[in-house]
């Protein structure tokens, strides 16, 4: 009885009793069961409500974005669909570059800056929209101003950071300075306040990229230059390359990647300079003519500064090689060296002494064979092939085309020198480079040194031009001007477009240099400031050109004036850095010369 009297219903969980005492318990069970069910029901109901609410919210958000209420919107009978206010949003596409890659503060600021740039563009576009009532227009103007302020602040921060980082960031200052300029253009056509057109962003992106190329004429010249590279040094007249080299020098600051070092890193050590240096003693004794070390300019230094560590020394080496002078053991050394030269640092490392002696040899040679064309040609081709070699290595780690060009131009350009010096056969002095920057007489002049790091770097290619054109052919300033106008061409088009509300933001310094460009709104004062600083800068050059006069670089004075123009038009950021620095330099040099 006990055994079969109880059947457990597993489904309901209710225990049915067949026993006589069961009825009361059964009814009790049923009531608890229904209560449980009710609770469950309520629970589910609540859940459903929550879900519906969530769905509603989502639908409304969707509607706000798309402007259309979704059909899935849960309408209770009798309930009206809610009024949807469409939200107008913007969406920006940023360059890959601008997205913060590292943890570095600079990259974060850069990213923020890029975004802010877009926001500002959008705000400006909103300002310019037609058919606005006064209140809206006013608020938009305000908004625009606010964004502009923010943008400027960010730019300053980014600039400062960049200064601190010594411009070692993967983004050259072009992102800050030039982008502002170009974005003026692109913002008119491309950057769109997002209503519907998501597609426009792609066009914006694509147009954003070519802009730097358009404004950077080195691109144009680059295509012209690279094929006839070997010939260039021989025919400097038709070659406008010096200016591009200046330009690209200015527009870039650094390349993100370093070549793997030729010299193995040893742990970082310090060495006191108070103890007598044993090795140095050895080097003293091995030095053949210690005194000429002072007379001979440290060519390596020039080279290292001016952006072509290898080429010149290498060129000389290869020159030695190409000549038919009797090969001494030393010469053989050079030959070995020149094989290694694709790496920028090795000549310094290994061949410091050799380079020097080979230089001397070369000058001797230059005297003995004045202006012999065939070796020069030979030399040119040689230089070209070597250049392409190192050019390759540069290209591999440089991100932008102009960076690559930077490496090319001075190189290729400078290779003209030994040729010109051969023609001139000045012996020592024939090395414009060397004599020019590092003549021992000049080393003692304070102004020279002060100026060295600040300016010479940038100007070097141009000064070189001055020299070579002086020794070789009548100067052709026209090509230079042409070039600069080309450069300015892009900003030059701007006035055709409606001017942005605040013109101070739009003109790049380049515009101010154009005589016929007068942005309607540029405050006279700003222009004056520019002119003043320009004047100051060109005055600054004076001490340097004096010293150069002694070398016979007659054209330099004129050049420096031109440089003032060219240079100023170049880069906003660079220019800003330099002017106070230059002032400092001039001040201190004035002090020192007293």
């Amino acid at each position: 009885m006990e055994g079969n009297g109880e059947i457990s219903d597993t489904d309901s969980g209710i225990i049915l009793h067949s026993g006589s005492d069961s009825p009361t318990t059964v009814t009790k069970d049923v009531t608890t069961h229904t209560r449980a069910m009710k609770l469950k029901h309520q629970d589910l109901k609540d859940k459903l409500e929550i879900c519906l609410l969530e769905l509603k919210k989502l639908c409304i958000r969707e509607a706000e974005l798309t402007g259309r209420l979704s059909e899935d919107y849960p309408l209770l009978p009798g309930e009206k669909p809610p009024q949807i206010r469409r939200r107008i949003g913007t969406a920006f596409k940023l360059d890959e570059q601008s997205i913060p890659q590292g943890e570095s503060e600079l990259s974060l600021v850069d990213a923020e800056l890029a975004l802010q740039m877009k926001i500002f563009e959008a705000a400006r576009k909103l300002c310019r929209e037609d058919h606005l009532n006064k209140a809206v227009r006013k608020s938009r103007l305000l908004q625009c101003k606010r964004e502009e302020k923010k943008l400027k602040r960010l730019q300053e921060i980014a600039f400062q950071l960049r200064l601190e980082h010594g411009r070692s960031s993967p983004l050259p200052a072009f992102n800050v300075a030039q982008d502002l300029g170009t974005s003026d253009d692109s913002s008119l056509s491309d950057s769109v306040v997002q209503d519907e057109e998501l597609t426009s962003q792609s066009s914006q992106l694509s147009s954003g990229i070519p802009c730097p190329g358009e404004t950077d004429p080195s691109l144009i010249d680059g295509s012209y230059i690279s094929p006839p590279l070997p010939l260039q040094p021989l025919h400097p007249t038709p070659c406008p390359s010096p200016s591009p080299s200046l330009n690209s020098t200015l527009s870039l600051t650094s390349s993100p990647a370093n070549d793997p070092p030729p010299i193995q890193n040893s742990p970082w050590t310090e060495s006191s300079l108070d103890q007598p240096y044993q090795k140095s003693k050895k080097s003293h004794s091995s030095k053949i003519i210690p005194s000429t070390n002072h007379m001979l300019p440290p060519l390596e230094a020039c080279l290292a500064q001016s952006g072509l560590p290898v080429q010149l020394s290498h060129l000389k080496l290869s020159r030695c090689q190409s000549t038919s002078t009797p090969s001494t053991p030393e010469m053989r050394m050079h030959r070995q060296l020149s094989l290694r030269l694709s790496n920028p640092e090795s000549p310094f490392e290994r061949g410091r002494g050799h380079t020097r002696s080979s230089r001397r040899r070369l000058t001797d040679y230059a005297v003995s064979l004045p202006g012999t064309p065939p070796p020069a040609v030979n030399y040119g081709t040689h230089a070209g092939s070597e250049d392409s070699n190192s050019e390759h290595s540069f290209a591999s780690h440089n991100s932008s085309p102009c960076q690559e060009l930077l490496c090319d131009f001075p190189k290729q350009y400078r290779s003209a020198f030994p040729h010109s010096s051969t023609a001139g056969s000045h012996g020592h002095q024939a090395f414009p480079h060397a004599g020019f920057y590092h003549n021992s007489r000049h080393q003692s002049s304070p102004s020279f040194h002060k100026a060295y790091y600040n300016e010479e770097m940038v100007y070097a290619p141009d000064l070189d031009l001055a020299w070579s054109s002086y020794t070789q052919h009548p100067p052709c300033p026209s090509s230079r001007y042409e070039y600069w106008y080309k450069d300015v061409a892009v900003p030059h088009h701007r006035p055709q477009r409606p001017l942005p509300p605040d013109p101070r933001l739009s003109p790049s310094p380049a515009q101010w240099d154009l005589p016929h460009y007068r942005p309607s709104g540029v405050p006279q004062q700003v222009v004056n400031e520019q002119l003043k600083s320009w004047h100051r800068r060109s005055q600054l050059k004076a001490p340097r050109s004096h010293s150069l006069d002694r070398q016979g670089a007659v054209r330099l004075k004129n050049m420096s004036a031109q440089e003032g123009t060219c240079y100023q038009s170049q880069r906003y950021a660079e220019q800003v850095t330099l002017s106070p620095a230059a002032r400092l330099v001039s001040d201190s040099s004035a002090l020192a010369s007293r």
Binding site: Y277, A301, F348, L584
Partner: protein, 127 residues
């Protein structure tokens, strides 16, 4: 301050002239250097850019000739008597600095505070 060989360099520099102190047979400069292209730049505690292989002043002995010439710890030496120091090995730099034939070394150095000063001047100065 980063310097990439082959790239142009803009730096605010200070000229420092150190008169070496003669002590018996030795010429005392009164500072120590570290770095160079043959040393691991990442271990340089003074550089801001850890790929910078320049020569840095690591120690300036108090009262020494270097201190008198206002050389400071952490300065980056750009030139020594006109010779470039941005792409040299440690030993080359030592050689340049400790030449027995020269009792004066003229340095071009750069340091962060110099750049900062210029930056400030720049912002005070209307553009």
């Amino acid at each position: 301050m980063a310097y990439i060989p082959g790239q142009p360099l803009t730096a605010v520099v200070e000229k420092i002239e150190i008169q070496k102190l003669r002590q018996g047979d030795n010429l005392i400069l009164g500072f120590s250097i570290g770095g160079g292209i043959d040393q691991d730049p990442a271990q340089n505690p003074f550089s801001q850019d850890k790929s910078d292989k320049g020569i840095y002043v690591t120690r300036v002995s108090p009262g020494g000739p270097a201190e008198q010439a206002c050389l400071r710890e952490g300065d980056k030496i750009l030139q020594v008597n006109g010779w470039d120091m941005t792409v040299v090995t440690h030993d080359q730099a030592r050689k340049r600095l400790t030449k027995k034939s020269e009792c004066v070394v003229r340095l071009l150095v750069t340091r962060k505070s110099l750049e900062d000063a210029v930056k400030h001047a720049m912002y005070d100065h209307p553009k």
